[in-house]
């Protein structure tokens, strides 16, 4: 049984239909990637799963709950954490407070272990705990956003463009870390414009075009697919 199952989801911005019937599944332990060009609807898909956008039709199932009927502030309690596009860390709170907010839903139980886990993954974060999060560099903010999501001890981690705006070495580091988190047992749904990197670390992938899924396959098969190579990997 999949950990997450999105079925025929239609999400609108006013009268504009941004998602035109999306269905996808994520199995326990996988990295699944959602690729597609700018404006395809990747972020909208993640925000619908996270409950901050409500689809007009369709269901999002996690275990036995329908997330489209779950209040947005309860979704993290069902085991979904979101590192959103643009990071959206709490810029005027300290780095440490940002991590603490990530664990807000859980209260303070065993939180020390979670801090340690984040520090091990991102040693640079540990050096900056007392600093305001807004003063971090782009790469550090990205690490903080992922760290904050991990503090919720989710079953499923939603990552929206973690490589956006980062220098190549940092992109490498972020993807390495995602692999490492996954190796520790975390299921990941990864949205990327950097299709090349995403397909390298993912098990499976979906290709999104103007609000519809046009292709889904193993990451390997997608990486060698003619259409994907042309449109998303910049080859001809």
């Amino acid at each position: 049984m999949p950990i997450l199952e999105v079925q025929d989801v239609h999400t609108y911005y006013g009268n504009i239909e941004a998602l035109k019937g999306i269905s996808l599944k994520v199995e326990q332990g996988e990295i699944v990637t959602l690729i597609g060009s700018n404006g395809a609807g990747k972020t909208t898909t993640l925000r619908t799963i996270a409950g901050v956008l409500r689809p007009r039709r369709g269901t999002v199932r996690m275990d036995s709950s329908d997330l489209t009927k779950t209040p947005a502030n309860q979704i993290v309690r069902l085991g979904i954490a979101h590192s959103p596009e643009g990071r959206r860390i709490f810029a005027r709170m300290t780095v440490r407070e940002n991590l603490e907010m990530g664990a807000f839903a859980r209260g303070a139980a065993n939180i020390a272990d979670d801090y340690e886990r984040v520090y091990t993954l991102f040693p640079r974060i540990k050096e900056r705990l007392k600093q305001r999060a807004g003063t971090l560099s782009g790469g550090e903010q990205q690490m903080l956003a992922i760290g904050r999501a991990l503090m919720a001890r989710p079953k499923l981690l939603l990552l929206d463009e973690p490589s956006m705006g980062l220098a190549p070495v940092l992109v490498e580091l972020v993807f390495q870390t995602i692999k490492e988190i996954n190796a520790q047992g975390m299921t990941v749904l990864l949205v990327e414009q950097n299709a090349h990197m995403a397909l390298t670390i993912a098990n499976r992938g979906y290709v999104l075009q103007t609000g519809k899924i046009v292709l889904s396959d193993t990451a390997k098969a997608l990486a060698s697919n003619e259409m994907v190579r042309k449109a998303y990997l910049g080859e001809d």
């Binding site: 993290v76 954490a81 979101h82 959206r88 709490f90 005027r92 807000f104």
Partner: protein
């Protein structure tokens, strides 16, 4: 000798300004907390404070201290009860107003809740009019008439630092520090800051945003309620239109400090209190509101972000 008198006059104005600044700051905090979290200028906040003074007056009257005539000594217990009643009343009323008049408009265009706040302000003013009538009411002068400088230190000066000043400052300053502590250290305070910065992300952290907003209105109301007892005992009068002038001063203070910025509101309150008192001392009472309004205009033109910087509800 003339020079000594000048300094005396200035010092006297400063003491009065600081004490007045304390209630202005407490009210300004209510504006700034609400603005910080939902970007609403709560026009009704000054009127909430006015209703607070009425709640104090009614409570004191029920307890038998509606006037100071024939009272021996200060009825401290009655004052504590009046303050708690006013705090609960203003806190509760503010939460109720949010629930009924602002929350349903949360997703509406910005102008809608603003107009709703003006409506709430009218309702509060009319409740006040109905409650205590159209004429100014005397607020009982219950604190000891004791001036520390002349009576304790034996100084001959125009400057007065009385039990009233001490009473106001020794309540207002701990309240402000307490507020800062709550915001900085408690779970609810951290949730408030998260909601103020990015309410959608706060929701995804599992924060009940509606509860946090209600809590913010509660805090603003509690402070206004506490300020109302201090104001009443200090000035010994109140009237149903009090909310307009008090609100104007407090709002100006909040803008002066940088609206949305909590330390800014406290600082702005004291600066404004000083400005008002110096204006009254050197130019006369009729110039007080002119001074306040001019300051508001000057800030808005030259430094709209205020002294300590405006805080945007947005992500950085």
């Amino acid at each position: 000798m003339g020079e000594g008198k000048d300094i005396d006059l200035l010092a006297a104005a400063i003491v009065i300004g600081i004490t007045n600044g304390a209630f202005i700051a407490l009210i300004a905090l209510g504006y700034t907390l609400v603005y910080g979290i939902i970007e609403l200028i709560n026009f009704a906040h000054g009127d909430l404070f006015m209703l607070g003074t009425f709640a104090c007056l009614t409570t004191l009257t029920i307890l038998g201290f509606g006037t100071e005539v024939g009272i021996a000594g200060t009825p401290w217990l009655a004052l504590v009860i009046a303050m708690l009643v006013a705090m609960a009343f203003c806190g509760g009323l503010n939460v109720l107003a949010e629930r009924i008049a602002y929350r349903p408009l949360r997703k509406a265009p910005r102008l809608a809740p603003l107009i709703s706040a003006i409506g709430v302000s009218f309702i509060f003013i009319n409740i006040g009019l109905f409650w205590q009538g159209p004429t100014p009411r005397r607020f009982p002068d219950l604190l000891p008439q004791y001036d520390f400088l002349s009576q304790f230190f034996g100084l001959h000066t125009l400057v007065r630092f009385t039990v009233k000043d001490l009473f106001v400052l020794s309540l207002a300053v701990p309240l402000m520090l307490g507020l800062a502590w709550v915001i900085q250290n408690t779970r609810m305070g951290k949730a408030m800051r998260a909601v103020a910065q990015d309410s959608e992300m706060a929701l995804q952290m599992g924060i009940d945003v509606n509860r946090v907003i209600a809590f913010t209105f509660l805090l603003g109301g509690l402070l206004a309620g506490a300020a109302s007892l201090m104001y009443g005992l200090y000035n010994n009068n109140t009237v149903f239109t009090l909310g307009f002038t008090a609100g104007l001063k407090a709002f100006t203070a909040a803008v002066l400090g940088g609206i949305g910025n909590v330390s800014g509101a406290a600082l702005g309150g004291f600066v404004l209190g000083l400005l008002a008192s110096l204006t009254v001392t050197y130019f006369g009472g009729q110039w007080e509101n002119v001074g306040v309004f001019s300051l508001l205009v000057i800030i808005l033109v030259f430094r709209p972000t205020g002294l300590l910087g405006q805080i945007q509800g947005d992500r950085a």
